[in-house]
């Protein structure tokens, strides 16, 4: 693309309004063009100003605590729960978990093998209705590992829920296309909670619309 043409994509990029191809082309260009980087900083300020013009809404008070809790969970479990490093370890474990319930020993040993600084005390809870495990750290952060699911039908998705005192809160979506799904739940799983998975319309639902296809109860 001509330099002037690609330069013209800058505001679209700042507004998150480029299609995937233009976006990639502009990002490649950005890496080599100091002028566009400078321009983008200014356009990004103008875009953020638009953000501040949105009609005011008060966030629910519990959101603050949820964000801080999630941040804390990441710090405490920097190694085990940082997805990028965790996934290969979990995928390896999941292969075992698909056949047998995994023991904490295996899990901790694998974490050490991944360069873990500490072995988080993890509960491994088998799933009912599917082969896999819910791994839950002491602070309640949890990862769902499940194997052998069919891919969700067209227009549908799997959705995980954390169910406490009869209330189900959405905890993440997945398509089930991978042989082993590793899903870090977006919500903490308190003691006594049940984690369930339902099939929902693509994009997910705010409340489960069907009965769970599998569950895992946290003691």
């Amino acid at each position: 693309m001509e330099d002037e043409l690609i330069h013209e994509l800058c505001p679209g990029y700042a507004l998150d309004a480029l299609g995937p191809e233009d976006e990639r082309a502009f990002e490649d260009h950005l890496a080599t063009c100091p002028r566009c980087r400078e321009e983008l900083a200014a356009f990004a300020d103008a875009a953020a100003a638009l953000g501040r013009a949105a009609p005011p809404h008060e966030p629910p008070p519990e959101l603050r605590g949820r964000i801080l809790g999630a941040a804390r969970a990441e710090r405490v479990n920097v190694v085990p729960f940082r997805q990028r490093r965790l996934v290969p370890a979990l995928a390896a474990i999941a292969a075992v978990a698909a056949c047998t319930a995994i023991g904490l020993g295996v899990w901790a040993a694998t974490l050490q093998g991944q360069g873990g600084t500490r072995s988080a005390a993890l509960q491994a809870i088998p799933l009912r209705g599917a082969s896999g495990t819910l791994l839950r750290a002491r602070d309640g952060s949890a990862t769902l590992v499940v194997s052998g699911l069919r891919r969700a039908p067209g227009g549908k998705t799997y959705e995980a829920w954390v169910i406490t005192s009869g209330r189900a809160a959405p905890a993440g979506l997945f398509s089930g296309s991978a042989p082993t799904v590793v899903l870090r739940l977006r919500r903490h799983v308190p003691r006594g909670a049940v984690v369930g998975v339902t099939v929902e319309r693509a994009g997910g639902a705010r409340r489960p619309t069907g009965s769970p296809i599998f569950t895992s109860a946290v003691a």
Binding site: A54, P56, H57, R206
Partner: protein, 192 residues
């Protein structure tokens, strides 16, 4: 606990980079309301908006050490993260709405008594700047930024050539920048 109120946003981000939770809390207290309002505007859904804000602040938590204050202010960075996440979600949900900004405001935004005066002034200043743009430029800008439409989708929807949409967007954001002038920031406080 250390009092962070006198620090600039950028100084607070530097503390977030050292995994200081209180610093993340401070950033949220300063920008969480604006972040949530933006996410609500784009997503039109409380729980999706909460997800977008949570994802954005966790991205701040993880990415603070890579933040380069010379390139953009922390407030811009946070709003950029929230917007990107909200647009991803709205495209996935296909929930895009196209009401004008004023209609959305009329639908009963919960105006908070605690909202800082300068937050309200900044919003009114940007809204006034938007009203000064030519109609087509304002429309392109609002549909793209609040509606989550890509340039190609806008071309199809508005029946204008893609090249026209690109030029209008360039002109619109450029004009908005010119009308607004340098971004309004609170007084900076430098560590050391």
């Amino acid at each position: 606990m250390r009092d962070l109120a006198h620090l600039s946003d950028e100084a607070v981000v530097a503390l977030v980079a050292r995994s200081e939770e209180a610093a993340l809390a401070e950033l949220y207290d300063r920008h969480g309301g604006a972040a949530y309002s933006l996410a609500r505007r784009v997503l039109r859904d409380e729980s999706l908006a909460e997800d977008a804000v949570q994802d954005a602040f966790l991205a701040v938590w993880r990415g603070a050490s890579r933040f380069v204050p010379e390139r953009a202010g922390a407030a811009t960075w946070i709003m950029t993260l929230v917007h990107r996440r909200a647009v991803d979600l709205v495209r996935r949900e296909q929930r895009r709405r196209t009401e004008a900004l004023d209609d959305a405001a009329a639908q009963g935004a919960e105006r908070s008594a605690e909202e800082a005066a300068w937050v309200r002034l900044e919003r009114e200043r940007v809204q006034a700047a938007l009203r000064r743009l030519p109609d087509q430029q304002r429309e392109t800008l609002e549909l793209a930024y609040y509606g989550g439409f890509t340039q190609q989708e806008l071309a199809d929807r508005l029946g204008r050539p893609l090249g026209t949409i690109k030029s209008q967007m360039f002109a619109a954001l450029g004009n908005l920048r010119a009308i607004l002038g340098p971004p309004a920031t609170e007084e900076s406080w430098k560590t050391s």
